[in-house]
Subunit: 212 residues, 2 copies
């Protein structure tokens, strides 16, 4: 399996869940939790949790469990959420518009600093507090600003050309909702592909299994 | 880990990916693929693929590999995509509107048969080919139609009341985008929670790791 700094991608994908659950515990004033209690809350095994967290250092204390605030803070650093990375959105149709408003970019480590579209009816308007900029100005923008990630919410056929534009400007990471494979020919880029339909198919399986 | 019919949820979550990749191969006229080739395409190991597929039966042939069309068809049946389940959407703001248009419900095993909202400016309008119905008519609709899944795109504070309404009508499965925990007090329901921010946090980790 893919490894990042020697940590399997399966573990990395669980980290955001830990971060979210610990955030909820903290918000409810809970200071301390055992791996067993956390496991019940998260539908994992206590041993899985301890194994995962041991990849990054010994955070718990035997007999005590984990301090919620410290553990959350450690995971925040592991995830790199305190780096103030910059993200831009490309494609401000329903999907892009929804994500700009629905997703907590800041909480996930990113400042959403610009949005681009080619539709003249959208250019100059705002999505949230961000002004929609002409898509043709992407290269100028990237030259004047530090852009770490491009969030792609454009039609599938536009995905590759748009990605190429960003890659030319030195932007090497993408959050890709387009269903296009933008990494072909670009093994150096980091892409997080989102296939929402996968969760729906999993749900279909579970519903079907329950009916038997 | 959670088990469904003796199959781990990790395997179940990989099935939609297999289904998608096999669909792409089929669309490109490729009839046959080895586990090694499929592994390279999917960034898994050949042995993982064989183990996963062996959970459901022996589909490959040693020396031949897998027949793309048959394997895809088998996975379609395993996922239960041919059951014509019915889904309804609740909440037709930007997010709900985007999902109704962006997500291939049919390809994931569902007919999207209705959309509900409480906003009088939306009621009676259409999202795609579906008319937006008054939210207060959910119970009538569920009594007259077979509804398998409710897709929740309502504000967080509305999630639990909306879920309760559906549970009262006998709808026990949810695709939940609201961040609310709707399964509290309802261990019998099937919920697929979507936390889009998790993928963004994973991306943050990967970008940070690459900079080191």
């Amino acid at each position: 399996m893919e490894k990042n700094n020697g940590v399997s991608s399966a573990v990395i994908r669980r980290l955001p869940r830990y971060y979210r659950y610990l955030g909820e515990l903290e918000a409810h004033g809970i200071n301390r939790i055992s791996s067993k209690e956390l496991a019940e809350k998260m539908n994992l095994t206590a041993s899985q949790i301890r194994q995962d967290l041991n990849c990054f250092g010994g955070f718990g204390q035997q007999g005590y469990g984990y301090n919620v605030e410290s553990l959350r803070s450690e995971i925040c650093k592991i995830l790199g959420l305190d780096n103030n990375f910059n993200a831009v959105l490309v494609g401000v149709g329903n999907l892009g518009h929804a994500f700009a408003q629905h997703i907590d970019f800041k909480g996930a480590g990113f400042n959403l600093i610009a949005a681009f579209d080619s539709n003249p009816e959208l250019i100059g308007k705002k999505v949230g507090s961000i002004e929609i900029i002409d898509f043709n100005k992407i290269e100028d923008f990237c030259n004047e600003n530090c852009v770490d990630v491009a969030v792609l919410c454009v039609p599938k056929e536009a995905a590759n050309p748009v990605a190429e534009t960003f890659i030319r400007c030195g932007v090497k990471s993408f959050w890709n909702f387009t269903y296009a494979d933008i990494s072909l020919g670009h093994p150096e880029i980091i892409v997080e592909n989102v296939h929402l339909g996968d969760g729906l198919m999993t749900l279909c399986y579970r519903i079907n299994a329950a009916k038997k």
